[in-house]
């Protein structure tokens, strides 16, 4: 039988709250420790315990990270989804199922192995039987796929943080699984194998939310105010977890305050208050939170107060699919609040950028004196991704135009809080407590000295200055990452977590239409002029995104010259799942077909 090595997908069907996440992460880390390119996606329900959950492990020597076209190995533990899980298996799938569930598996066209996982686990420990039955399937897979013992040991030690008793018990369950296969199965009939690859000693796995949390600390965050919401809570909790190690002085006193606010309105209000007082403040939320925060976001824009908001996008609208992913908030972030407003949005596509934008968001916010969004999503934020390591900020903090002494204030000719003395749209500010030229900040119309005004020409000049301020940022915010083909026929524009599917999309297109495409990964809003140049340079441009309406496409259509619009096309799709290469490559092929007709 022909072996299939390092190129298959596992799907593990369990019930939420049964401890399967530990087993699944141990599988992920074991393969990762063997140097095998692997990614894991946790598809979990909005529920504490009992509802179905699936874990998808994609093993790919090509480095493909999104869920692929099919499942090759199906683990079935959950009665509730039993029939569907079996029905979804294509011929040739290896099915490992728990016979203690006492449900039938009738698939002549698959390799089916039934294992009394619960009974075996109960034999080890009657109380924890249900939990460690998951470790039995780790053992089954370890034996079938050829997982390395040392790599598995390291993964266990990491998952159970060195707790000897837990490690021993789980290792015994793994051995039960291994022995079961040795005694009851002929693995020569099973094609799937894992083979070790060169291990990159610098690589590790981390969740995007933890990377942002760490980045925020290296940005010197002084206040985190937040309201719990999936999928952003682990970002806030990540910040809290690192305060003792990173933000505490020799007396045990902290350099970072944390407030779990009464709601998102209060959370962002505290960010605005703290930004006004002169510190770096942030909140983390998801779409429903941003909807609630919108009034304050407009205040910060208009009164020019720095702050950082991380949106870990989940599937909207409304409560939507709270535990699924999407890029559905982009337009809202860019324009949040009533009236004419624009906000910078930083869009990381990998773990290093999650960390980098964690600290950089504060530099942008203080330099522009405005609210800056970090735009992540559930896929990037809550799944574990390979990271090469976090890089220390190469520049000192950019605190922006803050006048801290009378001498600095005196050096400004004709100072006014909202006067554009440098011609870059950015005024100077003084801080409360300094006694320097105090004003009453307000969300009402104000003149260049901060005094209430309803004069038409004053309002219009202020709004145009704010626009100029944002437009000037287009050239220095994180610029797009380009990968251009010589022919420049087809250009793909994409952003954020789509980064993890783009290589596979590119390979599918090359295979199936024999065409290489250029790529432009957008990393910030407002858009860089480089994006316009990319569109200029290509014959056909397709904008890929994980939403229904093509939100970035809409922004491009509005902001770019009319003559470029006919060559731009949207390939937008969203079903709550991480972006699968097959969906997008089909959309792209359809666009190219239409264009050629």
């Amino acid at each position: 039988m022909e072996r299939i090595v390092n190129d298959f997908q596992l799907n593990i069907a369990t019930a939420n709250g049964t401890g399967s996440q530990s087993a699944n992460l141990i599988l992920l880390h074991t393969m990762f420790n063997m140097g095998v390119p692997v990614s894991g996606k946790n598809l979990f329900p909005s529920n504490i315990s009992g509802l179905p959950t699936w874990y998808i492990l994609r093993v790919s020597d090509n480095g493909y990270q999104a869920p692929g076209d099919r499942t090759h190995i199906q683990i079935i533990m959950n009665k509730a989804t039993w029939d569907d899980d079996i029905a979804n298996c294509l011929p040739g799938t290896l099915i490992l199922f728990n016979t203690d569930v006492k449900m039938p598996v009738e698939r002549e066209d698959c390799i089916v192995i039934g294992v009394p996982m619960t009974k075996m686990a109960r034999g080890l420990n009657p109380k924890l039987g249900k939990m460690i039955s998951n470790m039995v399937y780790v053992g089954l897979l370890a034996e079938i796929l050829g997982l390395d013992d040392a790599a598995l040991d390291a993964a266990l030690a990491q998952q159970f943080k060195g707790k000897v008793r837990a490690i021993e018990l789980n290792l015994e369950a793994v051995d039960l699984g291994r022995n079961f296969i040795k005694e009851n199965a002929d693995i020569s009939t099973i094609p799937f194998r894992i083979e070790p690859r060169d291990v990159d000693e610098n690589l590790f796995l981390v969740e995007g939310n933890e990377a942002v949390a760490l980045g925020s600390h290296y940005g010197g965050v002084g206040l985190l105010s937040w309201y719990p919401i999936t999928p952003s809570s682990s970002l806030a909790e990540g910040i809290i977890a690192y305060i003792p190690e990173l933000r505490t002085d020799e007396n045990g006193d902290h350099y970072c305050a944390v407030i779990q606010a009464e709601d998102e309105l209060a959370a962002v209000g505290m960010v605005v208050g703290a930004g006004w007082s002169g510190i770096r403040a942030m909140t983390a939320t998801s779409g429903p939170g941003i909807s609630l925060m919108s009034e304050f976001i407009g205040l910060a824009y208009f009164a020019e107060i720095p702050g950082v908001i991380w949106d870990v996008n989940r599937t909207g609208p409304s409560t939507g699919l709270p535990t699924r992913t999407q890029q559905g908030d982009l337009t809202m972030l860019y324009e949040a609040s009533h009236g004419d407003t624009t906000h910078p949005v930083l869009i990381p596509g990998n773990m290093q950028e999650c960390f980098e934008y964690g600290w950089k968001a504060f530099d942008v916010a203080e330099r522009l004196q405005t609210v800056v969004f970090g735009f992540s999503d559930l896929d990037l934020g809550m799944n574990r991704w390979a990271c090469k390591g976090f890089e220390y900020p190469e520049t000192p903090m950019d605190r922006g135009k803050v006048l801290r002494t009378q001498a600095e204030l005196d050096a400004i000719e004709n100072y006014g809080r909202y006067r554009d003395v440098d011609g870059d749209g950015i005024p100077y500010r003084t801080l409360p407590g300094s006694g320097l030229d105090p004003i009453l900040y307000r969300g009402t119309g104000h003149d260049e000295d901060g005094v209430y005004s309803e004069k038409p020409e004053v309002y219009q000049a202020l709004m145009m200055r704010l626009k100029r301020k944002m437009d000037n940022a287009r050239t220095w915010l994180p610029q797009p990452v380009l990968r251009e083909e010589v022919e420049k026929e087809v250009g793909i524009i994409y952003y954020g977590s789509m980064e993890n599917s783009i290589q596979e999309i590119d390979d599918i297109l090359e295979d199936e239409i024999g065409r290489k495409v250029s790529q432009c990964r957008v990393r910030s809003l407002p858009l860089s002029p480089v994006v316009e140049q990319f569109i200029q340079d290509h014959e056909t441009v397709i904008v890929l995104e994980i939403n229904r309406d093509g939100q970035l496409y809409g922004i491009l259509r509005r902001e770019l010259p009319h003559e470029l619009i006919p060559k731009m096309h949207s390939a937008a799709y969203s079903d709550g799942m991480p972006p699968r290469a097959r969906h997008y490559s089909e959309l792209i092929k359809n666009v190219l077909k239409e264009v050629s007709e």
Partner: protein, 344 residues
């Protein structure tokens, strides 16, 4: 003519603000004057004060006092959150906040409650008139049942009493006063400024335009005639030795405030013990049943930690900590990278 200076050698002009744009005779302007006098008398440093407000007639008043202090006229009902954030950023600031009954009892009641719950160190001046002024005279949630404003029907809804609410939430300083009682209000304002923790002064401040008619239970005349005072008050500043303050003829007792000053409570009628929350609630319920307004220091508890103290922050205001201290070291990041790589 010599200009009179306060204990930190500043003239009263350093505590005044812009010209009021409120209706002539508005209670809010009297309160602004009390704030100016109290801050000047107490010798507060204007640059260390922060004036906070929400939206409404009352929230406009920070433009009319303390012109040398930074201020923030925020959004409707959300001033407590902004104040909370600013307090975390600069613990050296003294927060003087003004809100109204619409701002605090309706749109912002959640934020009011949570600021009290956290014992945010601030003076919360509630200018309470029972109506929305800027939108031309709708009832607010504090309007008394059975009261009638100048236009429209009698109010049939139960009022929300923010003093009762604050006492139930464990607020550390709860007072009610009347904009027309300058002496009482000034003593209570000074005491609130000397308190550490959340100090609520709910001030009945009649709306001369929409709610000062004969059928209103919040008109000047009605409140003046139906004011039940808990005590007569005398504020004795830190620098005045308590022995040198003239003792009143009748019974009295003293409350020592956080900054060392004293609030002297002189007994009038039956005595009220401001450490007794039940007595405070009882006084409020009794007054309400009799269509009276009880004024004075209702409740006082100097023992609770403030929102900032709960955070275990460094002593230096975070806004003054240098950037290299706020950003963890490069070595700490290398330690983290090593640990993530499983080599620590």
């Amino acid at each position: 003519m010599t200009i009179k200076l306060n204990v930190i050698d500043l003239p009263k002009d350093d505590y005044t603000g812009g010209k009021s744009t409120l209706c002539p005779g508005c209670g809010h302007d009297q309160i602004s004057n009390v704030i100016i006098n109290a801050a000047w008398d107490n010798g507060l440093h204007p640059e260390k004060l922060a004036k906070m407000s929400g939206i409404g007639c009352s929230s406009k008043t920070p433009a009319y006092f303390l012109g040398k202090s930074h201020g923030f006229n925020t959004v409707h009902g959300r001033m407590p959150a902004v104040t909370t954030g600013a307090a975390m950023g600069n613990r050296g600031l003294t927060f003087l906040a003004v809100s109204g009954d619409g701002d605090s009892a309706s749109i912002g009641i959640g934020q009011f409650i949570h600021a009290v719950r956290r014992n945010l160190d601030m003076v919360y001046v509630l200018e309470n008139n029972g109506v929305y002024g800027l939108t031309k005279g709708q009832y607010s949630a504090t309007a008394v049942k059975g009261s009638k404003k100048k236009k429209g029907p009698t109010n049939e809804h139960q009022p929300i009493d923010l003093c009762k609410l604050a006492i139930n939430l464990g607020c550390t300083f709860v007072a009610r006063s009347f904009s027309g009682s300058k002496k009482q209000l000034t003593a209570l304002m000074k005491a609130a400024m000397s308190h550490k923790g959340f100090a609520l002064i709910d001030i009945i401040s009649p709306c001369v335009t929409f709610n000062n008619n004969d059928e209103s239970l919040r008109s000047y005349t009605y409140v003046k005639d139906n004011d039940v005072e808990l005590h007569a008050y005398d504020y004795i500043p830190t620098q005045t030795p308590i022995e040198s303050a003239a003792a009143p003829e009748g019974e009295f007792h003293d409350i020592t405030l956080f900054d060392g000053s004293t609030l002297r409570l002189e007994t009038i009628g039956s005595d009220h013990d401001p450490s007794d929350a039940m007595a405070a609630l009882s006084a409020l319920h009794k007054a309400e049943a009799e269509d009276k307004h009880v004024t004075g220091l209702l409740y006082f508890d100097p023992t609770k930690a403030t929102a900032v103290e709960d955070q275990c922050l460094v002593e230096t205001p975070l806004s003054e900590v240098d950037d290299n201290t706020m950003r963890p070291s490069a070595a700490s990041l290398e330690t983290l990278n090593t640990r993530f790589r499983g080599k620590a």
